[in-house]
């Protein structure tokens, strides 16, 4: 052991070094930047994100407050206008802008009001599958062993059911095809994708040294899961969920078109596509317009998911 004098000299020298190191750092005026704020910084400059964000905000506004976009009632049928009034392209945002459907209802109003059903189905399904699939995936990935074996096999079984076919079977067994039935049917079959992504992500994260460090400190399992695993594993789940949200919109439309999803009097794009199909040859716009809405919405969410994925990709930093 060095004697006391030597130790003091040594400490002083070290302190001087440290002080200089500190001074060097202090000169860099740097704000705390979390990985999320870095990602946000990236997103704000990404045109893909900006376009998709504007579209999604508009669609959400339609879903929440359709009255802002049109004063017409989507269920008011004026049979006198039955197919007679073609779209009046010049009359932007007016009731007759996009013409009338077979029942003489304003197509524009129906598109605006249809956003609510379509988007709420997709959003609620996404929330449900993210929470449920996320928990299943996290438990399977973190605990491994027999927990993983059981949960993963169950996931595989559900994953093996063809999505639309499965939904059809589930929905046909319900008399009443209200919004919540469609939501439950889609969520029942949709959680597996999220579970698989979450499981993979958790398995990667749980091997990180900081998880080991937390264990070495004596941290409890809930603490490790919530403080260390969840915040780091959530990014890929969010990306997949965003992209899946688009998928649920088209799934709702598909099921409604097949006549087993939402049904009249609910106003939804799928319902409109279904009724528009009857007149495809004569009046194709009745079918095409709601289809375009579905496509735009799906595209917007997929673009958002891609932009978020790029912003969160750790390889880029």
């Amino acid at each position: 052991m060095p004697d006391a004098l030597e130790a003091t000299v040594k400490d002083e020298a070290l302190d001087a070094v440290d002080a200089q190191a500190k001074a060097a750092n202090a000169s860099k005026a740097e704000k705390p930047r979390s990985l999320w704020s870095d990602a946000w910084h990236d997103l704000r400059r990404n045109p893909l994100f900006l376009i998709s964000a504007v579209l999604i905000v508009l669609l959400l506004a339609m879903a929440i407050a359709p009255g802002l976009f049109t004063s017409a009632d989507p269920r008011y049928a004026d049979l006198a206008k039955h197919y007679l009034q073609k779209p009046n392209w010049g009359n932007v945002f007016a009731d007759d802008w996009l013409g009338y459907d077979g029942q003489g209802r304003s197509i524009y109003a129906r598109l605006v009001y249809g956003a609510r059903a379509s988007i709420s189905v997709a959003v609620v399904v996404t929330v449900l599958v993210t929470v449920f699939g996320g928990i299943v995936g996290m438990l399977a990935g973190y605990f491994g062993g027999w927990v993983d074996t059981i949960l993963s096999r169950v996931t595989d079984i559900f994953f093996g059911i063809p999505f639309i076919l499965g939904a059809m079977v589930v929905l046909t067994s319900f008399e009443d095809r209200a919004l919540y039935v469609v939501i439950l049917a889609l969520a029942f079959l949709g959680w597996t994708q999220i579970a698989r992504v979450a499981r993979g992500s958790v398995i990667t994260i749980k091997q990180a040294d900081y998880v080991m460090a937390a264990k070495a400190l004596g941290a409890s399992t809930p603490r490790i899961l919530l403080r260390h695993i969840l915040p780091n594993a959530v990014a890929p789940v969010i990306v997949v969920a965003t992209i899946a949200l688009g998928g649920y919109i088209s799934a709702e439309a598909t099921l409604s078109y097949l006549g087993i999803g939402l049904a009249e009097p609910t106003v939804s794009w799928g319902v409109d596509i279904s009724s528009g199909a009857e007149q495809l040859r004569n009046e194709p716009y009745v079918l095409i317009l709601p289809s375009i809405m579905v496509s735009i919405t799906v595209l917007a969410f997929i673009m958002l998911g891609d932009a978020v994925r790029n912003a969160l990709d750790p390889k880029l930093r």
């Binding site: 070094v17 200089q20 860099k28």
Partner: protein, 352 residues
């Protein structure tokens, strides 16, 4: 079996006696990367040259630009975000940066080969090592499948992989780290290149295996009379095999010297600091000297000499004027061939 040898035969500097010019001559090379936070100036005017049969060690810490320079030579920089705003890379007198893609491709692989740090990720995991070695001969020399395989086995023998004949059909993951690095060396040697660039070839290996691989590399280099650029951060590895050393800091060469000279009398405070900051194996030291401060941020390289905020000898001039790599001479003005230092006060450093 174990070989015990007295290594009195330190490789004597094998100069470029038969060849007139250097094999590779890098002149005033600059490389920069565009990132979200600004332009990262990774290489800021690097000059070095290697002759046939010569080993140049490029020594530097992370962010010194040592690997980026090598990537620029090999033409494997990601561009964008990378960019070479100025400079020349002359291979046998021809500028590789201005020649056509085809011409360049022929030099790369056939004339200049590279060995990477991580052999596992540099070898294709789904192909056998024999196939990957044989591919070199089939593609570049048009050999038949059978001949190429025979050559592959020969090459594996050459890098002393035991039971090469039996192991030729094994996959990369079936080999140990040291053996994989030998396979990488075999790949690099396959076409008998004039120059090999080895980027931290032994960093990932254990000490006892490190020695085997470095010896093999040095021996093969001597045998084929190749030029070798050895990129490393390890002052120890360099001392064993290099003829001359270029020390890099913040994208510049701060000191060049023949290997013995550098360790005996460093002419740059950074080199001095590095040498002082590594503990000795043969004696219990007192306190370690530590270079103060942090490695430079390449987004904001300090003005003047990049090392000035960490330098114990820094004066006002160091904060304003960039020191150029000046020839280092004896106190009486006598020539010291191959020595240079980019320090305003090299005289004080080496003689004072």
């Amino acid at each position: 079996m174990t070989i015990i040898d007295k290594t009195a035969d330190v490789p004597a500097p094998r100069g470029s006696t038969e060849n007139s010019g250097p094999l590779l001559d890098v002149r005033d090379l600059h490389v920069e990367f565009k990132t979200r936070d600004g332009v990262v100036k990774a290489v800021n005017g690097v000059n070095y040259s290697v002759a046939a049969g010569e080993t140049l060690a490029v020594l530097g810490e992370s962010g010194s630009g040592k690997s980026v320079t090598a990537q620029a030579i090999m033409g494997i920089l990601d561009m964008p975000p990378g960019r070479i705003p100025q400079g020349e890379i002359l291979f046998r007198g021809e500028d590789m940066l201005t020649m056509g893609y085809e011409e360049r491709r022929k030099i790369r692989g056939q004339k200049i080969a590279m060995i990477f740090q991580d052999a596992l990720s540099s070898l294709n995991p789904v192909l056998t090592v024999g196939y990957q070695l044989a591919e070199m001969f089939r593609v570049h020399q048009g050999l038949s499948k059978k001949d190429a395989k025979a050559k592959a086995i020969e090459l594996m023998d050459r890098v002393r992989i035991p039971a090469a004949k039996e192991r030729v059909n094994d996959y990369p993951h079936q080999f140990s780290g040291g053996m994989r690095q030998r396979i990488m060396i075999a790949m690099a040697l396959a076409l008998e290149p004039d120059l090999i660039i080895a980027d931290e070839p032994t960093t990932a290996l254990d000490v006892t295996v490190q020695a085997q691989v470095m010896d093999l590399l040095a021996e093969l280099q001597r045998e084929y009379n190749m030029g070798l650029i050895l990129i490393t951060h390890d002052l120890g590895v360099v001392a064993d095999v290099a003829d001359k050393i270029a020390v890099m800091y913040a994208g510049r060469i701060v000191e060049t010297a023949p290997v013995h000279e550098l360790y005996k009398r460093p002419a740059h405070p950074y080199t001095r600091g590095l040498l002082d900051s590594i503990p000795r194996l043969d004696q219990k030291g007192q306190e370690l000297y530590a270079i103060k401060g942090l490695p430079p941020n390449l987004l904001k390289i300090p003005s003047g000499c990049a090392f000035n905020p960490r330098c114990p000898k820094a004066q006002d001039i160091c904060r304003t004027d960039v020191p150029l790599l000046a020839d280092v001479t004896e106190q009486d003005g006598g020539e010291l061939p191959g020595r240079g230092s980019a320090c305003h006060f090299w005289k004080e450093q080496i003689h004072g």
